[in-house]
């Protein structure tokens, strides 16, 4: 990576993306009485051939971000630009040709493939919808896609239930690659798989990136996987990005207290190091995204806020929301960002 914070040649640019889900009152009128702010002002860019990891715990809005980018759930406000073209204002028909360029792979390989279609039809469907191939050309292309993801093309007439979880995820990847997209949104692509199977799919994703020059938005909760595959990493908390940095910067020198707590919570498969580690334990639960805390959203659980800051410094956390700003080599959304080595 040349630049640590922003990529040189962005294919995808997301600016101040918001997705609010209305909360309605009960009864006949169902007035809107509030909103769950699932994504509340997220900005990042994705460079050509780059893997950006988007990590966070459940409910932080990482999957909603991915879906809003693809227009699967229209964004409330903000801008998503693909190759300089604004996506959020497009209607379905206008969006369709652009779907060739941005594809998604879902988490659950058991739910994302139609159980009633043989694998050939599943992988061929995007090609037929976009009228890209038919007849023998279609057959050749599907065979090619299946071998590309490490499946035997002879199995194309089988149904999804005849495949294991890892193989199904490969079918999902083949389907996403059918249209030769430039960007893949990978929404927890390996978290439903056993470790021994997961490794093969991760290797496959790395190979495809290198071979086809793809860009990935890699959404995951497993930071070990993200450290392995990503170039840059964005950490989300309660609908916002709290830290964004190149992979090594983020893992070696995290500056946001949430990133630090997250990294320290992950158990290492190394008994010696596990015995020596000190954990930063967070207290309390994730606040409701319908009613986030004032000022810094993390302050209710922040160990730094509770233990290290003086009362006047705490006031600033309560009243002023920290912006995601360049602090050192990181973008960090903490007034008192400070490097702390965790791993």
């Amino acid at each position: 990576m040349t630049s640590t914070v922003d990529s040189a040649e962005p294919v995808l640019e997301v600016r101040d993306l918001r997705k609010h889900f209305p909360i309605r009152s009960r009864g006949l009128i169902r007035r809107v009485i509030g909103a769950v702010k699932a994504v509340d002002g997220v900005s990042f860019s994705l460079g050509r051939g780059e893997v950006l990891g988007l990590v966070g715990e459940s409910g932080c809005g990482k999957s909603t971000t991915g879906r809003a980018i693809l227009h699967l759930q229209p964004a409330t406000s903000g801008s998503v630009k693909f190759a300089g073209r604004e996506l959020t204002k497009l209607n379905r028909a206008q969006m369709r040709p652009l779907r060739r360029q941005i594809q998604i792979v879902f988490q659950d390989p058991y739910a994302s493939l139609s159980p009633r279609l043989p694998v050939f039809d599943i992988v061929a469907e995007p090609l037929i919808v976009h009228k890209l191939a038919s007849g023998q050309a279609l057959r050749t292309r599907v065979d090619e896609l299946l071998s590309m993801v490490g499946l035997n093309p002879e199995h194309a007439n089988r149904y999804p239930h005849e495949f294991s979880g890892g193989q199904r995820q490969r079918i999902g990847i083949a389907r996403a690659l059918a249209l030769e997209p430039q960007v893949l949104v990978l929404d927890e692509p390996v978290s439903a798989l056993d470790v021994s199977i997961q490794a093969g799919v991760i290797n496959l994703l790395e190979d495809l990136r290198d071979r086809l020059g793809l860009s990935y938005l890699f959404i995951a909760h497993d930071l070990s996987v993200v450290r392995h595959i990503a170039d840059r990493v964005a950490v989300m908390y309660l609908g916002k990005i709290v830290e964004l940095a190149s992979k090594d910067e983020l893992f070696e020198r995290p500056t946001h207290p949430y990133t630090q707590a997250l990294l320290s919570a992950i158990p290492l498969p190394d008994p010696d190091r596990e015995r020596q580690r000190q954990r930063i334990l967070l207290h309390g639960d994730l606040p409701s995204p319908a009613n986030p805390p004032s000022g810094c959203r993390f302050r209710t659980r922040c160990p730094k806020f509770a233990n290290q800051l003086k009362p006047d410094e705490q006031d600033r956390c309560r009243s002023e929301e920290p912006a995601l700003e360049v602090r050192g080599n990181h973008q960090s959304a903490c007034h008192y960002a400070e490097t702390l080595q965790i791993i």
């Binding site: 715990e57 459940s58 071998s147 590309m148 490490g150 499946l151 035997n152 294991s164 890892g166 193989q167 490969r170 056993d194 470790v195 021994s196 199977i197 997961q198 490794a199 093969g200 991760i202 290797n203 496959l204 790395e206 190979d207 290198d210 071979r211 909760h221 497993d222 930071l223 070990s224 996987v225 450290r227 392995h228 595959i229 090594d248 893992f251 070696e252 707590a261 997250l262 990294l263 320290s264 919570a265 992950i266 158990p267 290492l268 498969p269 190394d270 008994p271 010696d272 190091r273 596990e274 015995r275 580690r277 954990r279 334990l281 967070l282 207290h283 309390g284 639960d285 994730l286 791993i343």
Partner: protein, 412 residues
């Protein structure tokens, strides 16, 4: 931190006697397609104060083993072998005496706290129920006080009020704390925790594991920790049992398992794990293929078809679990080769992206089609035999060079 009053004086237990002893446990489920042999001979002994980690992938039989110990399997299951708790046989006893053991002698923590708590009763009621079931003399008031005490102990804020909440009013992590409170309520001798943190986020997982350690310290219980997460086991367990296809394939002290595994499967599991603490990107080494069906296993080592060290003798008979070092057992006829060579996973397993072993040829063709630094590929191919550790070099069936060509073409 308050401590719980010890309800009864524990009889002296000799340190050398195992609390829980499982011997040759087998579980079969008759299904329409035939008999599924889910557990095929599990033996372990759990000593006071010890934590035994049971690891394995889905379908390896680790959960069924613990359900069999607790007598919680459906009636259709055919269980054989022996489960002894404090020297007393538990298999085959009636439900009433078994109920006296459950919760009091052996307590269990399940994976999903939403389904293991009853949604229509307040959590306080559910804790009190457990307490009074095993201590008939306990008054309702005293039991409720204990319940509050327990909730405090597992770190639930405002326990006095929260004791009257329903499970749905708690978050996932808080619910799991309630489940742990119920498990430790009767000062059990053994706690079996079946994937206690799998449904939780990492920061919550860290909290719940701390609570579990508190529970161990408070009750002095020995623990069986069942998980697929090798990180969790590394931090919690004293001994580790690795399961594959319904059988233990390696048992040993936690350091032995992680630093000198003697079974290729364990080595493969460790090699396929992306590391949070890896400074450079290392290519992962997946285990090719998928676990065998437990419906009708072929003779020989069940890991054989996926094993890079596989030789003809592996198919002759299933290797038994035998001692390879003091207190370290492995079920592999080639475990000696693994120890001599001090191998790492990447020496044995291919860093491939292909799932199916039979696919190697096909992909080799594909790699050829992509002219991707042919000189690098040749270099790697020439180097490859030297890269192999001694045991892999000796195999009669080395991993197909085709697979290697593929890797070389793609590897960076």
């Amino acid at each position: 931190m308050q401590s719980i009053a010890q309800p009864t004086v524990e009889p002296d237990r000799p340190a050398g006697e195992p609390l829980l002893e499982v011997t040759d446990l087998e579980v079969k489920f008759p299904t329409e397609d035939g008999v599924v042999h889910a557990v095929r001979g599990v033996s372990y002994a759990l000593y006071p104060g010890q934590t035994l980690g049971i690891v394995g992938e889905s379908g390896s039989g680790k959960s069924v083993t613990s359900l069999a110990v607790m007598g919680l399997l459906p009636k259709s299951a055919r269980v054989s072998g022996s489960v002894r708790f404090r020297g007393r046989e538990l298999l085959g006893i009636r439900d009433r005496p078994m109920s006296a053991v459950r919760g009091k002698g052996i307590a269990m923590i399940f994976q999903d706290p939403m389904t293991s708590l009853n949604p229509v009763y307040r959590v306080g009621f559910q804790i009190v129920e457990t307490l009074r079931r095993h201590d008939k003399g306990l008054s309702a008031k005293a039991a409720m006080a204990r319940a509050v005490n327990l909730l405090n102990l597992v770190g639930i804020p405002n326990a006095e009020q929260r004791v009257n909440s329903f499970p749905h009013e708690f978050s996932g992590g808080m619910r799991q704390r309630v489940v742990i409170a119920i498990a430790m309520a009767n000062q059990p001798d053994v706690i079996i925790a079946d994937e206690p943190t799998t449904a939780l986020d990492v920061t919550v997982q860290a909290q719940v594991l701390e609570v579990l350690k508190t529970a161990q310290a408070e009750t002095g219980a020995a623990t069986v920790l069942i998980t697929h997460d090798l990180g969790v086991v590394a931090g919690m367990a004293d001994r580790v049992l690795v399961m594959y296809a319904g059988r233990p394939v390696e048992v040993g002290a936690v350091d032995d398992i992680y630093y000198s595994p003697r079974m290729p499967y364990t080595l493969g599991l460790l090699g396929s794990l992306p590391r949070l603490d890896a400074r450079e990107r290392q290519r992962l080494t997946p285990i090719p293929g998928s676990p065998p069906s437990l419906l009708n296993l072929p003779p020989g080592c069940p890991f054989g078809p996926r094993c890079p060290l596989h030789i003809a003798e592996c198919d002759a008979a299933e290797p038994s679990l035998s001692e390879v070092d003091t207190g370290h057992l492995a079920a592999c006829i080639r475990s000696g080769d693994l120890s001599r060579a001090e191998v790492a996973a990447e020496d044995v397993f291919e860093a491939t992206a292909v799932d199916d072993v039979a696919q190697a040829d096909l992909l080799a063709g594909l790699a050829d089609a992509v002219p991707d630094e042919p000189e690098l590929m040749e270099e790697l191919l020439a180097e490859a035999p030297g890269d192999q550790p001694a045991p892999a070099g000796e195999t009669t069936e080395p991993v197909e060079p085709a697979g290697r060509a593929d890797t070389a073409g793609e590897g960076k």
